[in-house]
Symmetry: C2
Subunit: 210 residues, 2 copies
């Protein structure tokens, strides 16, 4: 059982996985992290299964918007952070593939996506602002709020720098109405970094205390 990430990098992985399934006869079932990934997987004839205890992924493969050298991530630029996080938390391991330019010494240059219940978005925006971020409600081309697959709004919260990702993740997710924030800590078990010449280097990720 493989957790299937969302976004351009994950889409490349899906194409390779589909090719291997055909060529090597692999018995793989995929747990998609978005409606878009589910559609792509179906078009590639990757068998899908719903997230459940009997289908907890052996491995999740996903991209990220930002990663530090400890394998801590910012995700959610594509809006799929909630399902991506739930699948990653259910999985036994998570391989993250990123372009080298997304690896940074400290997280926070990329605005942190926070998925919230629409009913509470004004309260949450105020709470995250008071924590030092410039907060913007993500909008659609027509100017209305862009909703996630789960009907949630997304706040893009520019902190500039995030010196303590674990503490910030916990603080934000404790706010009533926050469903998930885009900080992924203690989840990535492998960090695969693509270099400028198409080479891939694996950065060692420290084992989590959990």
């Amino acid at each position: 059982v493989v957790g299937l990430g969302t976004g351009s990098t994950a889409s490349l992985f899906l194409a390779h996985l589909a090719e291997r399934i055909q060529r090597k006869g692999l018995e793989i079932r995929g747990v998609p992290t978005s409606e878009a990934t589910a559609r792509l997987a179906e078009s590639l004839r990757i068998p899908l299964v719903e997230l459940a205890p009997s289908s907890a992924p052996d491995l999740v493969v996903d991209g990220a918007d930002e990663a530090d050298r400890q394998g801590r991530l910012i995700k959610g630029g594509g809006g799929a952070l909630v399902r991506e996080k739930m699948v990653a938390e259910a999985g036994r391991g998570m391989a993250v593939m990123v372009h080298w330019a997304k690896v940074c010494p400290e997280l926070g240059a990329f605005p942190l996506p926070v998925a919230v219940l629409p009913f509470a978005w004004r309260m949450i925006a105020a709470a995250v602002s008071s924590m030092g971020a410039a907060v913007r409600l993500r909008s659609d081309r027509d100017g209305g709020p862009r909703l996630s697959d789960d009907g949630l709004m997304i706040l893009d919260c520019a902190f500039g720098r995030i010196p303590e990702p674990e503490a910030l993740e916990e603080e934000i997710e404790r706010i009533p109405g926050v469903v998930a924030c885009g900080l992924f800590t203690g989840l990535a078990t492998r960090l695969l970094v693509g270099g400028p010449d198409g080479d891939v280097e694996e950065f060692p990720v420290p084992a989590d205390a959990d």
Copy 2:
């Protein structure tokens, strides 16, 4: 600004509040905790306002499915627990009105409602089961899952008894995909108990450490 609860008891309060607004010219704005309460308030001509930092309720008035003598509650039998909890957390005080038969020495006879993202419900049901509850997905008359105003599923989790409500609330709300559980601790500031003869007694609620 008054937070307007949901359910039969809260509806009686709305009727009284509307009457006072008319008779005494009170300047009240209500923050409704459900679409049903918003419709009722509109029909009673109670002015409404969206939940926001500028409209944090001075007082929230709501009912409960179960209350103990410390003012800890189980709510969510009507499915509005998420908005009820967000409004209560935003408010400066919460008056809870219950029938005497709902006051018990220990919570848990009433199955605890837990509001969850549909995508994760199977994982969450398994996690709460492993904590000792009999878990049932709340369904509609047609047999499909009954969704809340926020598009969430509700798991009714029968624990039988809940000796440590604060600890259980925190443990359940830490599960990925759980939006809120129906345990309300540290929120009620007044507990008004209706007796069998129509009399009302106020039970003293210990001040919260927060």
